[in-house]
């Protein structure tokens, strides 16, 4: 026979050891964020923390990834297209592929292009979600062509500046550049460098 006298959840809520029952009810609430970190979803909890406490947001880590990306980009060009360090570039596989394609074609008419960062001015860092971010950077670069065989300078050092938009993804706890694309500054246009 099914006993109809038992009322769920009142009977168990207000009888017996209240503290134990309250703990059983509230424990999952506290455990979920911890399990999120353990299961690889910590970025979502960090995102919530960053929203609640701006000092805890990911802006500095995102900026560091973009700076590191550009430093590695410069290294590839300064080493005449040496791609041995490509694995250390904080970029997605697709982005690394495009860097390899680009560095493979930097030889133009027996000359090699060498870049040097003059300045990276972060205009905005926006975290679009726990795993994605958009960064706008005003960049200034110096560049020069060198002879492919003797590595002697060919012509003068030139300067170029542009506004770049970086789209980043968080993978395995690291921020990686997924895409970098030029943005036209209103009224000024993209500066022609070559």
């Amino acid at each position: 026979m099914i006993r109809p006298e038992f009322n769920f959840p009142e009977d168990i809520l207000f009888k017996g050891s209240d503290k134990t029952y309250l703990l059983a009810l509230l424990l999952p609430l506290a455990l979920l964020p911890l399990v999120a970190f353990a299961s690889g979803d910590g970025a979502y909890i960090r995102y919530l923390l960053g929203k609640a406490v701006p000092a805890l947001d990911e802006s500095e880590r995102i900026k560091a990834a973009v700076t590191e990306f550009n430093n590695r980009f410069m290294d590839i060009y300064a080493s005449q297209g040496d791609k041995r360090g490509i694995g250390a570039v904080p970029a997605t596989v697709g982005m690394r592929h495009s860097l390899v394609t680009d560095s493979g074609s930097l030889w133009v008419g027996g000359q090699v292009l060498v870049y040097d960062i003059a300045s990276l001015d972060f205009r905005s860092v926006q975290q679009d979600g726990p795993l994605s971010a958009t960064v706008l950077v005003k960049e200034e670069w110096n560049y020069q062509y060198k002879d492919g065989k003797t590595y002697k300078d060919v012509g003068q050092v030139h300067g170029t500046e542009s506004l770049m938009r970086y789209r980043l993804l968080q993978q395995g706890g690291r921020w990686l550049v997924q895409k970098s694309e030029p943005v036209r500054e209103s009224g000024k246009g993209v500066k022609t460098g070559a």
Partner: protein, 299 residues
């Protein structure tokens, strides 16, 4: 007695699991960390919580049988049914967007879609078709597809196509970009499905180290054949200026031209298997919960 305590703790812990899942889901959605709907179930922690909840419900089901509690039994069964149907609907759901030009055919391959969300066991929409016309006779928001020789006009409302549904999302003109060099001939020749009506678009090709910025040049009025084109490589700007349809632009040893424009449509697919069963389970669960509450007040 400890055994009595355990029998009471199990349903409470299960209730705590359900409430924590609900609360954290609401917080994540409200903060913009997760889009409402299926993306929530992409989180490993949510799936893990779902498994714990299912185990908790099974254990509560056993305790309700032992305690002969009819209300608790009905609530557990309804909740389990809701959990199972939700899992089924999630695993078999599909949402995707793709763009097709007039004359192009849809094939059920992952590469056909530009974006989307697919459940683990969901197949891609299987019915192949050919898009024959976009906005026929100037009718906005419509396109014609042909399937096994039969033409069907689709619009912005969902229409059944095989076991899936399809709808027309929008249309645009895709420019044909041609890049060639004197030594190697044509290096690239592709229609780029970008919507220039949305403003300047940035694109590139896997085979070339260039990035292109393209927009309509409106400095001389509404001329659909006049574009503003910028070509970049790495950090360098190589060209920035106007280009007319068919005009060749010399850029660092190559020539770039926009040779043609072709209308394309943006289409959306979805497969919603098990959604009706899930909604029915949700209604059943709500009814049982309300009945339980009413009965409690009556007592």
């Amino acid at each position: 007695m400890p055994s009595v305590q355990i029998k009471k703790i199990i349903p409470l812990f299960t209730l705590g699991l359900a409430l924590s899942l609900l609360l954290w889901s609401l917080v994540l959605v409200a903060a913009g960390a997760v889009k409402p709907g299926w993306p929530l179930l992409d989180l490993t922690v949510v799936r893990f919580w779902g498994v714990l909840l299912a185990l908790g419900l099974l254990a509560t089901l056993v305790t309700s049988l032992l305690q002969r509690s009819r209300v608790q039994l009905c609530l557990c069964l309804a909740a389990l049914l809701l959990l199972v149907t939700t899992t089924y609907a999630y695993l078999f759901h599909f949402e995707g967007a793709l763009s097709l030009a007039e004359g192009e055919s849809y094939e059920p391959f992952p590469s056909s879609f530009s974006s989307g969300h697919k459940g683990g066991l969901a197949p891609f929409p299987q019915a192949p078709f050919t898009l024959t016309r976009v906005e026929p006779d100037g009718k906005k928001g419509r396109a014609v597809i042909v399937q096994k020789g039969v033409g069907t006009e689709i619009d912005t409302n969902w229409r059944a196509l095989g076991s899936s549904e399809i709808r027309f999302k929008g249309s645009a003109l895709a420019p044909l970009i041609v890049v060639s060099s004197k030594e190697k001939g044509e290096l690239e020749r592709s229609y780029v499905k970008v919507d220039l009506a949305q403003g300047e678009q940035v694109f590139g090709f896997d085979t070339l180290p260039y990035q292109f910025l393209l927009s309509r040049d409106k400095s001389k009025g509404e001329d659909k054949d006049l574009f503003r084109l910028a070509v970049r490589r790495g950090k360098l700007g190589l060209f920035d200026g106007s280009a007319r349809l068919g005009q060749k632009v010399a850029v660092q040893g190559v020539e770039v031209s926009i040779d043609d424009q072709r209308k394309f449509a943006l289409l959306e697919f979805r497969t919603r298997r098990g959604v009706v069963a899930m909604q029915a389970a949700a209604v059943l669960f709500a009814v049982v919960a309300v009945l339980a509450a009413v009965r409690r007040k009556a007592i």
